[in-house]
């Protein structure tokens, strides 16, 4: 316990990196998810196939492999391209950008499916009613699709988000000093690995518990006017 207090600055700094990483990759994931869902549901052949390719690849390849590929492979590629063309000599791929970007893009694949399912759950007749009332596409999205999509998507979204918070741990492999990296380095330096692993575990539990509260609030907000019954 004393050791954890001694190393608390390290653990807190790591926790902060983890939180930033989780939130920024979430924004990226939601953006990719919305675009992906739109593309999958669109009548445009190219958009459909591109989105299908995207979800197949990112959901089919281990996150860790992608992170390593982007961070090390990406940098080598950028630099050899620079060397061949003579345009630049050395470009540094930041660990944070590689980590947040990769996790965001991977989870965008999961979000695509979650959002697509949610949009499909909205009764078609409501959208037709909107058209009949003379709403344009943006108004239909804002008034009919978005509020209901959020409600239908929340359970799947919550799952994705909880997995995503934990996936940020993968970035410790590329040396990004998140809570796992700092916890393990402190554990090895003091030879009290268990103590620090336990501390890291508790930090993740706190983070997921806070998200749970926030997600439940969102669920209540988007379920206003809807009565829950036992049959769901």
């Amino acid at each position: 316990m004393n050791l954890i207090i001694e190393y608390q600055a390290q653990l807190l700094a790591g926790t902060w990196v983890t939180i930033q990483l989780a939130l920024i990759s979430l924004v990226i994931a939601v953006m990719f998810g919305l675009i992906g869902a739109w593309a999958k549901l669109s009548k445009n052949f190219i958009a459909q196939k591109t989105a299908a390719g995207y979800t197949t690849i990112v959901r089919g390849v281990p996150d860790l492999v992608l992170i390593l590929l982007v961070f090390y492979g990406g940098q080598q590629m950028i630099n050899s391209f620079g060397a061949v063309t003579g345009l630049w000599d050395y470009v540094e791929v930041s660990q944070f950008a590689a980590g947040a970007g990769t996790i965001g893009i991977v989870f965008g694949g999961y979000m695509t499916e979650t959002f697509r399912g949610a949009i499909l759950s909205i009764p078609r007749g409501q959208i037709e009613a909107g058209i009949a009332c003379g709403m344009d596409r943006i108004t239909i999205f804002r008034r009919i699709i978005w509020p209901q999509m959020v409600r239908y998507a929340l359970p799947g979204f919550s799952n994705n988000w909880l997995v995503q918070i934990k996936s940020t741990a993968l970035v410790s492999v590329i040396g990004l000093q998140d809570v796992v990296y700092n916890g393990f380095v402190a554990g090895r330096s003091t030879r009290q690995l268990f103590t620090f692993m336990f501390a890291v575990l508790m930090i993740y539990l706190v983070l997921t518990a806070i998200s749970d509260v926030a997600l439940r609030w969102l669920d209540r907000r988007y379920s206003r006017g809807i009565v829950r019954t036992d049959h769901g």
């Binding site: 090390y72 492999v173 402190a186 030879r191």
Partner: protein
């Protein structure tokens, strides 16, 4: 030389900014920070240890500013190749396998490898004595090469870090562990968890696996830096700086014969 081009570009920029900055000469060193007593991290985040002090002494000798870059062990060589830093000073043993991808300086230390087992366990270090025994070690190390070559009869249990090997030895999940003797002595035997354990079987060495010792790794194209590092190691040995650093951490000269 790409490096020289980079240096001149930097120098040109520094000149333009009107600052006589020494940035052009920065030496970026990849270090681990999780391998006491060679490298570890203090509570305030500073890096300490034999490797760290050697790195700083080398930079001082070369009159270049040291930038220590912390890197997880598994990504050490990929990061060097991706030019995240210019050299690795992280107790990396010089091996034929690694030499295919990077160049090494001369060794800067060489400590023997040893087995550690429970006191009185009576473990025989021989092909028959180790048959079916669970031997823990850090994966991707020279020790793995040694065990696979010399004692294929033993059951190897591989770990990401040396600390995890000690953890599992302490709780009895493995019969013995095989590692660098200094790492085992300082990291385990001298600690509370290791008080019931001891070295067993004496020094183990296989030239093909263990190689000449720990060296500083550079990219294959960086022959100039490699020569500089060799020069620095020689100078540190000659002017007594090495011995001073050595004495802080170890009871005998770990440079080896």
């Amino acid at each position: 030389m790409k490096l020289r081009k980079l240096v001149t570009t930097f120098a040109a920029i520094a000149l333009m900014l009107g600052t006589a900055s020494a940035q052009a000469a920065d030496l970026r060193v990849g270090v681990e920070g999780a391998y006491p007593p060679f490298s570890w991290k203090e509570a305030d985040g500073t890096l300490k240890g034999f490797d760290i002090e050697i790195a700083e002494a080398v930079c001082a000798e070369l009159k270049r500013k040291c930038v220590l870059v912390e890197q997880d062990w598994d990504g050490m060589i990929p990061a060097l190749l991706a030019r995240k830093f210019d050299t690795i000073i992280a107790s990396m043993s010089i091996t034929e396998e690694r030499k295919k991808r990077v160049d090494f300086s001369d060794k800067y230390y060489n400590t023997p490898a040893k087995f550690v087992a429970k006191k009185g366990a009576g473990l025989q270090i021989s092909k028959s004595g180790l048959k079916g025994k669970r031997i823990g070690l850090q994966r991707g190390t020279t020790h793995q090469c040694f065990m696979e070559k010399m004692y294929p009869e033993a059951e190897l249990v591989l770990y990401g870090t040396q600390e995890e090997v000690f953890q599992d030895l302490a709780i009895g999940r493995i019969d013995a562990q095989f590692s660098d003797s200094i790492a085992a002595d300082d990291g385990f035997l001298k600690t509370d968890a290791g008080k019931d354990f001891e070295f067993t079987g004496g020094d183990q060495h296989d030239e093909a696996c263990h190689g000449p010792g720990a060296g500083m790794a550079v990219r294959k194209s960086d022959t100039e830096l490699r020569d500089d590092l060799n020069r620095a190691i020689k100078a540190l040995r000659a002017n007594g700086t090495y011995q001073k650093i050595n004495a802080k951490y170890f009871e005998y000269d770990i440079f080896g014969g």
